[in-house]
Symmetry: C2
Subunit: 385 residues, 2 copies
Amino acid sequence: MLNFEFHNPTRIVFGPGKVAELARLVPPKAKVLLLYGGASAKKTGTLAEVRTALGAREVHEFGGIEPNPTYETLMRAVEQVRLQKIDFLLAVGGGSVIDGTKFVAAAACFDGEPWDILLQRGANVSRALPFGAVLTLPATGSEMNSGSVVTRKATQTKLAFLSEQVFPQFSVLDPTKTYTLPPQQIANGIADAFVHTMEQYLTYPVQALAQDRFAEGLLQTLIEIAPRALAEPDDYDTRANLMWTATLALNGLIGAGVPQDWATHMIGHELTALYGIDHARTLCIVLPSLLDTQRATKRAKLLQYAERVWHITGGNEDERINAAISKTRAFFESLGISTRLSGYGLGQEAVEAVVAQLETHGMTQLGEHRDISLAVSRAILQAAL
Amino acid sequence: MLNFEFHNPTRIVFGPGKVAELARLVPPKAKVLLLYGGASAKKTGTLAEVRTALGAREVHEFGGIEPNPTYETLMRAVEQVRLQKIDFLLAVGGGSVIDGTKFVAAAACFDGEPWDILLQRGANVSRALPFGAVLTLPATGSEMNSGSVVTRKATQTKLAFLSEQVFPQFSVLDPTKTYTLPPQQIANGIADAFVHTMEQYLTYPVQALAQDRFAEGLLQTLIEIAPRALAEPDDYDTRANLMWTATLALNGLIGAGVPQDWATHMIGHELTALYGIDHARTLCIVLPSLLDTQRATKRAKLLQYAERVWHITGGNEDERINAAISKTRAFFESLGISTRLSGYGLGQEAVEAVVAQLETHGMTQLGEHRDISLAVSRAILQAAL
């Protein structure tokens, strides 16, 4: 097992109707800014429910945080925070809204140009406004971690930052809030949580037995619930399992003491930045192809994955690895997600464009062994055509 | 899945040599009281290592916290805290030392008679001194939770309290600190972590899929590492897995959103209080017998446990349940722990004595269904003769 430090102070309040707990969770005299995305937060009544729970507190709103939240939009929120002397932020939405709120929380307290927070990956964040979240879309795990991804529209640059200052103080997880989500967003959430788990699991063995079992448990849970999550939107237990599993997939726990990959995310981010493909879908394009390309260095873990997650025991080692990668691809396809660039109308030109962007962003040594060069990234993308 | 609230702010710092991190983890101007148990903390050099890491800070000591720490001993520590105006506690030891430190932390800030903290199960704790821990014995999980068990020697009463005020701020987990532990303590640690997991897992199904998988993962890990943990005291990875697994077994995570039992603990506590049997060993006496006695209400989970943890697939349902209970008993025995009262020289008189103590302490409705009456407890103990 590798050495590690694990710390996650976010309070999770889980269950139907738990939005009412905001009355207790938000400081009584807070001046609150509600941050949200599109019209659905209003239409579904969640925003009104939140306002009711906040009672007599002074509450302002900032709507319009887009998927893959942009620096340009978020800086308008920062301006509003300063103008209205806001002292508590409340994100109402999914990963994009929560990621955006983390950036606003840090930027509002930052001396200098806030884009530097992203350029320095958060190392320069020494404080942030306190904030909480009401999660409406299970997928990214942002509700219980200290990471955030922000896109600068002007330059098509998508960067992440991490800081202990931007753990949500609390997150309210009410699975019934997911009943009205379109199936595509549920499919994306399942795929996102699956790949988050794989990035921390499918590397090389370091005798981290509990972490491996936990990761395998999350993957098995996602595989088990996927069909019903798509077919029966108002099955409470299925949605509850999806919500908690997606949180556990990226709250630091399964990644403590193990090597991590994240090359799929880095390559995927460029596909989103260039072509606007949903984040989760880019992961489904890259992962199967990456597993195949990196099968030599990932061999031991691929065999473990085949056996424990997919119960593949027949055939020689290479056949079992092939079968596990095929099962992974088929799982994504079963969610209605195409795992080929061609499924999004993209061809060889996209391969070159993504590789060029990876070079521009210094992504020339990716993966747990830092051995995914631009040439390897090109091979991965070629295999995903 | 049941509704839940999960919050665990303890920072875990894991790896060899991490005691040196105390320099960063303890506030620079703290007046520190080191709390520890017997002579081993000194003999092994851990106490000296801790003092070195604390550098120029004012450091006092309180030794002699016994296994199953007593109110009588701990109140002497409270007196010392007040006298020396201590503002930070540092536990160096296993679960008993950390449990004791939690009580000292709360009692030092408590107005009134501190025994009331235990009588009210912690509901009356509104603040506590900040504290950290250096774990030397993997077993109880106290290093990452907010629970504590204290015994009043005068009345042989063993009571627990819980309070968010007594989460350790941090715990240093250095697996090499376990190399010098006697095999009996390692065996006890494995059994303790195993039963902690079972108390939160082996109840009835509530469609908490990830929690079940996590619990099964911890049980499988303990089964996998047990032989080597006993046979090869300085195998780093084995001890690292034991340490982290024992922490995860009782940090609130696998118990979030599921029913919990804890009857084995309540009955076991009386065996320790009356006869001084090691805590973990009392659990190994009670659990197999309790599973057998409660097999009707635990049926679905017993079948799941048989299949997923012990890979028992042959035979009819009752045969599979029998086999799973036998495997559980054999696992404890393989650790060198007797699972029968007779193994400790106890007979029918002990059954009656324990039942009388349970009655005295109001333990008349135990278990996840509150259906373990005194008569059922008697039957469980009878079956453990």
